[in-house]
Symmetry: C2
DNA sequence: CGGGCCTTTGACTGGTTTCAACTTCTGTGG
DNA sequence: CCACAGAAGTTGAAACCAGTCAAAGGCCCG
C-alpha cells in the first residue's frame, strides 16, 4: 500500500498545484497549512479555503475531468503531504474497496464545511464573520497572515486591520 | 433493491425536512425543484442551494451525526423524490459496494459546485452574479420566484427588482 | 543594514440595504 | 366564476457597510 503513496515536503509559499497545470492526484496534509485559491478575471487572488493537518485536498473543480486546474494550492507554512496519484487511487480502491467508504465520508465532511461557509458568508456581516472566526479558531488567526485571512473571510486587509484596531 | 426506496410526492411549499427534525435519509429528485435553506439568528431565511432533477440532497450539516437538522428542505414546485433511509442506505451499500463509488462521485460533483459558488460569491458583485446566473440558466430564472433567487444570489428582492428594471 | 512585503491609518466613494408605500399576481372560498 | 386577501414584485429616498486609493510605518529575512 505504501508504494501508492508519496511523501512530499513543501516550503512556505511553494505551490503544490498551479492553475493551468494538470491536477494528477490528491494530497493528505500531514503537517502544515495550505490555501486553495482562485484567480478572478480581475486578477484578484481569492482564498477558497484553508486545509490543515488531517484534511484531503485536490482541485475538486476539475478532478476527474482531465481539464487543467482552475485553482492553485500553495503552502502557507512549511507543509508535509502524502500524495496519491489518480491512477494509484483507482488501483488502491480496486484492491481495498473499503476505501471508497473512507473517501466518501471525507467528502461528506468537506462538503458540509463548504455549505457551512456559505451559510456564514450570507448570514453574517464582515465584522461578525471575523469575530466569530477569531473566537472559534484563535490559534489559526495567529498562524496565517492577515491578508490571507481577510481574503478567506471575504473582505480587504485594510478592513481587517480596522477591525483589529477597534477591539481585539 | 426497490424495497429500500420510497417514492414521495410533495406539493409546492411543502417541506421534505424542517429544521430541528431528525434527518432520516437522503432524497433523489425525480422531478421538480427544492430549496435548501437555513434560518439565521436574525430570523432571515437564506437559500443555501437549489436542487433539481437528478441531484441527491439531504441535510449534510448533520447527516450521520444524530443531531437535529440545521436546515430545512422545501419543494419550490410540485416535486417527486425517491427517498432512501439511513439504515436502508447502509444495507444497500453492504449488498452493493459499488454504490459507495456512485455516492462518492455524486458528492465530488456537489462539493465542486459548492466551491464554485463560493468562488462566484467572492469574485463578482451582486449585479455580476445575477447577470452571470441569468445568462447561464435562463430557464431556471423563470422557474423559481424572484425572492428565492435573490436570497440564493445573496442580495435583497428589491435589489433584484432594480436590476431587472435596468436592463433585461 | 536594507528592501520588499505586510500592516496600519484616514478620507472619500459607491454598491447594496433598509424602509415604506404602492401595484400586481395568485390562489382559495363563496 | 368572481371577489377578495395575502403573497410577490416594484419604486424611490435615505443610510451605511465596506471598498478603493494613497501614503506612511513596521517587520522579517537575506
Amino acid at each position: 500500500m505504501c508504494s501508492y503513496l508519496k511523501i512530499e515536503d513543501y516550503a512556505k509559499k511553494q505551490h503544490l498545484l498551479e492553475e493551468g497545470e494538470m491536477c494528477t492526484g490528491k494530497y493528505f496534509i500531514n503537517s502544515g497549512v495550505v490555501r486553495i485559491y482562485t484567480l478572478s478575471e480581475k486578477g484578484v487572488e481569492q482564498v477558497i479555503h484553508f486545509a490543515i493537518e488531517g484534511w484531503w485536498i485536490t482541485d475538486y473543480f476539475t478532478f476527474n475531468t482531465n481539464m487543467p486546474a482552475k485553482c492553485s494550492i500553495q503552502a502557507v507554512e512549511p507543509t508535509q503531504v502524502v500524495m496519491i496519484g489518480e491512477a494509484e487511487q483507482e488501483q488502491l480502491l480496486k484492491e481495498l474497496p473499503q476505501m471508497e467508504r473512507y473517501f466518501r465520508l471525507v467528502l461528506e465532511k468537506a462538503y458540509a464545511a463548504s455549505l457551512m461557509r456559505t451559510h456564514y458568508m450570507f448570514n453574517f456581516s464582515a465584522e461578525e464573520r471575523y469575530r466569530h472566526f477569531a473566537g472559534h479558531y484563535p490559534e489559526f488567526v495567529q498562524r496565517v497572515p492577515q491578508y490571507l485571512l481577510a481574503s478567506y473571510l471575504g473582505f480587504t486587509p485594510e478592513f481587517l486591520s480596522m477591525l483589529r484596531a477597534k477591539k481585539d
